[in-house]
Amino acid sequence: MTAILNINGISKSYKKVKALNNLSLQINQGEVYGILGPNGSGKTTTLGIILDVLKPDSGNYSWFGNSPNKESRKKIGSLLETPNFYPYLTARQNLSLVCKIKQVEESEVDRVLTVVNLIERANSKFKTFSLGMKQRLALGSALLGNPDVLVLDEPTNGLDPQGIAEVRTIIKGLAAQGKTIIMASHILDEVEKICSHVAVLKQGNLLTFGPIQAVLNKQEQVYVAADDMEMLKLVLAQIEGVSNIKPSTSKVYLLLEQGKDSAYLNKALFEKGIIATELGMQKSDLEANFLALVN
């Protein structure tokens, strides 16, 4: 695995507020890395530093194994916070200007405008755009030159449900092409749907990181109910491969080890003389896991 981005011990303070505390992180080629955390946890500060608009107080980072320079930034498509364009220029003029900065072909403009569904408004001035259109134009701008690495800061911010779905489809498509994506978000659902890896920040500290299943315990839960709930609990404890038994009022939740499914559980219960009245799978409660992690 090739390291795309290496962050080594970066700290950053704004006057008295410690925004980032000794953050180290490695992001490899092809990973879709979500940076997750509540508002003010240091997500945007992290992205601002790796894009050279903010200076870290200490620590360093490298892109593609080299110390950061403007040439490496040209190979990264970025969307940081708000969409920044000239209001008096049209969408096409704005993107053509970015092409000149990134030194990519002008033909890219129409390609990305088509991808983000703005080709019909290509000749409208930026100031006439709605917030959602501005955000899509910013995403389009990040796609100019078809970069292998994308840095996206809350890419669905300000979009309507349809826009959110469109942007997610675009990002998933990019991930499927093997692009490396670094995405900050405070929307758990978004990270879960798009990312392969996740780093969780809180008040500038890295709480945990790794593959998303491991960090957010994405394993599916099994729930089961029977007429005799007390008996059920006793029997479940004896069945091989069952763990994390959590009884609630009407059901018992549990985890099954890899390779065992609900049919296995049903059979095992039946052999021990219990007939399940209800049995099913339920996705793990990511939000609860996340809140448990952050609080």
Binding site: L54, E71, N84
Partner: protein
């Protein structure tokens, strides 16, 4: 370098505000200049048509145009403040420009604008001169005033650049830029001796000396022995003014670069 300049042109060519101010300046200079020569001074033995004639035309025209340099400086204030208020400076860095590229772009743009204005004055001056002067007067005498006008235009724009970089809000920057001469003269009141003559706005303004005053002043080399010009009327030689102005311009560029590179881009 050329790529940076192309990017700057892509920003300003469709920008109406830019063309309105520039158009106004370029339309007003010849109109006002023509107007001045049309004054009839009752009873005075001065032929105002002399305003247009070689070799005086270069000093007269550049002195008039120097007032409009404040407007051209205002264009720079607007263009630079735009980069901060639209957050496009930040975006350019994210997209792969360096902070020094930003300063270099703006300097290149200022040089282009100053060059353009200078060539325009050269044409206007030549037209007025050729239309009114007898053929035996030299076209090129005193033409150095036009070259010095170029430095002045660059000087005012450089002051505009640093004020805009420092203040970042368009409205406030324009006010401070317009008041900079006033602010400077207040500070000058507290400065002893000859130093006040070397203040930046004063130096830049003196690049295009007022032709009426400089015509009234006697040439120091032709004064009778022992005679002196009173100190308050004593002015710095134009060559010194040019050198000091160039130093100011370079210092302003350096400080602007330093201010931008040392700070976070919010």
């Amino acid at each position: 370098m050329l790529n940076l300049l192309k990017i700057e042109f892509k920003k300003i060519i469709p920008y109406t505000t830019f063309w309105v101010i520039f158009g106004l300046v370029f339309a007003l200079i010849p109109v006002v200049f023509y107007g001045i020569g049309q004054f009839e001074l009752q009873g005075a033995p001065i032929d105002m048509k002399n305003t247009y004639r070689f070799p005086g035309v270069w000093n007269n025209l550049t002195y008039l145009a120097s007032w409009f340099n404040l407007l051209i400086g205002m264009v720079i204030v607007i263009l630079v403040c735009n980069e901060f208020s639209f957050k496009t400076f930040r975006q350019h860095v994210i997209d792969g420009q360096s902070k020094s590229d930003f300063v270099i772009s703006k300097i290149l743009l200022m040089v282009c604008m100053a060059l353009f204005s200078t060539i325009y004055l050269l044409i206007i001056g030549a037209l007025f001169g050729l239309a009114t002067t007898d053929s035996n007067v030299s076209f090129t005498e005193n033409i150095h005033f036009v070259g010095i006008y170029f430095i002045q235009a660059l000087g005012y724009m450089s002051v505009a650049l640093i004020i805009a970089t420092l203040i970042r809000s368009t409205a406030l920057s324009i006010i401070i830029f317009m008041l900079s001469i006033l602010i400077e003269s207040i500070i000058q009141a507290f400065v002893p001796g000859n130093i006040e003559k070397y203040f930046p706005m004063e130096i830049i303004a003196n690049l295009t000396p007022n032709p009426l005053i400089s015509n009234m002043m006697p040439d120091p080399s032709q004064l009778p022995p022992g005679a002196q010009i009173p100190p308050m009327f004593e002015s710095i030689p134009l060559s010194t003014t040019v050198i000091v102005a160039c130093v100011y311009i370079l210092v302003i560029w350096g400080v602007t670069y330093f201010m931008l590179t040392k700070k976070d881009i919010k």
